[in-house]
Symmetry: C2
Subunit: 422 residues, 2 copies
Amino acid sequence: MDVLVDVKSYMQQVGREARSASRAVARASTGAKNTALLAMAKAVRERRAELLAANAADVEQARVDGLDAAMIDRLTLTEKGVESMAQGLEQVAALPDPVGEITDMKRRPSGIQVGKMRVPIGVVGIIYEARPNVTADAAALCLKSGNAAILRGGKEAIRANQAIAACVREGLKAAGLPESAVQVIETTDREAVGHLITMPEFVDVIVPRGGKGLIERISKDARVPVIKHLDGNCHVYVDDAADPVKALRIVENSKTQRYGTCNTTESLVVARAVAATQLPAIAAMLIAKGVEIRGCEETRKLVPTAKPATEEDYHTEFLAPIIAVKVVAGLDEAIEHITKYSSAHTESIVTENYSHAMRFLREVDSSSVMVNASTRFADGFEYGLGAEIGISTDKFHARGPVGLEGLTSQKWIVLGDGEVRQ
Amino acid sequence: MDVLVDVKSYMQQVGREARSASRAVARASTGAKNTALLAMAKAVRERRAELLAANAADVEQARVDGLDAAMIDRLTLTEKGVESMAQGLEQVAALPDPVGEITDMKRRPSGIQVGKMRVPIGVVGIIYEARPNVTADAAALCLKSGNAAILRGGKEAIRANQAIAACVREGLKAAGLPESAVQVIETTDREAVGHLITMPEFVDVIVPRGGKGLIERISKDARVPVIKHLDGNCHVYVDDAADPVKALRIVENSKTQRYGTCNTTESLVVARAVAATQLPAIAAMLIAKGVEIRGCEETRKLVPTAKPATEEDYHTEFLAPIIAVKVVAGLDEAIEHITKYSSAHTESIVTENYSHAMRFLREVDSSSVMVNASTRFADGFEYGLGAEIGISTDKFHARGPVGLEGLTSQKWIVLGDGEVRQ
């Protein structure tokens, strides 16, 4: 790759090969795709030493380059990590094949039967950062959904990613599928990303996996659709008809089960009618777990140790043991507050009131809306998708956790018996 | 509008109002939306004279400006046209409301029930040309699907469009919905389109309705998703197992029922095994109807009056009584030919062979793929969508005829009983 003077030509060549391979992958049988995935898993296990050595070189370079500890942690591949990569490939092989699924067939007055068949999108470009296991995960999901993939990993993981790419190619070859069905970009030149996201003739959709900054940059410059996952500023609303036991349990789990995930609750909204009876116990639980409370004035009267919440706090995805709390008049004000501050990722109402539950479900415009459940459930595995390529905070095409289905489209099919239009 | 010195500020104001109105429309009851649609129909009928006068002024201006006869024909509104506009509004009122529909609920091992609820996309921008009836149609479809709409009609139809906009506002007002839920752009400045398609903060999707040139221009410059409808270079493939009666009837209807529609067949592909027995009769039927045949060498041996087909002919959407014909070895070569030349709109195979039918359905990557049916069926009404905002030749989000459902998305909903994640 050092001789690549022209990154644009290289990327166009990659794009052209992906487009060409996408036809073969789209038509590939479920058996061929699964054979490839299982062969990839085998190759990953067989080449474990090679993968670990490549990763060790990446990690060494990262230390020389002065990358921070968190980054090096994400970059580091262990023996266990290699094994779980292989298992991930096997899990995707075990998922049902979405391609070719026929649904919604209806007979029309003309005599024809009309319905839909699920089809791959074509070529998927995935842009990600340090974690090398994404290379295997993304390759597997794209292949199983019948798409060709162009993977662009982080510069810091280039050696491990290339080693994983070799295993992926070995698997494709074993199944008689074109090796260019999954291509891992070989250059670390930043310019490559700019080309990848502006080749609608070769790439049909981009899935960026990384920080908000990366995703915003890509969305701004892309000339193809982007499945965006921005921030997760999630809310739990404790309604005036909330069961206090459920409320306590759901807030605890939503906020404290893990602090760093996008489906972690960052703001608690409480109906005035139950604030005095329920908020002190909830606050005591949170404080006991080391969570800092930042509240509105009413909250601070009930929770004396709470700090005052700023406007900014209600907008913030803390990803830390901090929670913003707001007391509201009731359901209407709660929905208003959520509409104003939420990032439209996941919100949950705790209530025993049927009409409040239905209004919250209908009126809150987030990718996941829940009744009496922890926001931490917003996840592809918990939803039964089997795997997840990302979580979309967008409304076009796919919303919320995106599994194999989000990497497909549907075409119309018509079964006739010689019918013509009148 | 003459005082609008700053088109950008005007468009941003329109966008802001649309975004704000979109919340009310998204939450509006089916009853309120239908009340608005029926009140719009009433207003259109009551103001018929006004609409016709506004349109007459548009037509007069178009004549002064030297617009061609076809354009003036599309622009002209008749009494019957006004009545069918009112009926169109009533038809949309009669369609089922897609918003809030809950599907696919499944219980998960954790105890939660997970499924999907259909939701509006938000703000839809529609850009169209001469036909003023699109103003009413588009307003109706956007409103029924719970979206706010920004409509930008052709300069030549500005007076009729504004008169229709007044009826739309009257309907919205009668139902207590915000009048800015449907806004018709008041400036004819071309710059307005440039702003409309580059305001992702206010507009969620653009639907251009017009010629390929318009759509390509918009897609190139848009900063929001575009539901594209490019050309319709449709094929009928007469397989070696084709029933000759069905083949003749399907080619006749696909090619000659109407010449100017996007689902009209432009190319005929015939398997060599049946070319000698079936092609002469098909050609005779076409010639008798005045269709010019442009064929490959083999075609010309069987149809002596056929002109030679050029490479360009196979790529062309003629929209005229011209058909390109190609004799192929069989199914594989037919699929290859279609993949190479088709615009991925609609293709049909005529065959009695089950495996050929299934392979064609699976392997042809077009928005509609048919067996033993006329390509002319590729239409929202024929498919039972009730109405059609356009036909998407894209694969992301919506494909083929786009009805109310194509203007919606789905969010995840979770029904729990206090469950938390382990």
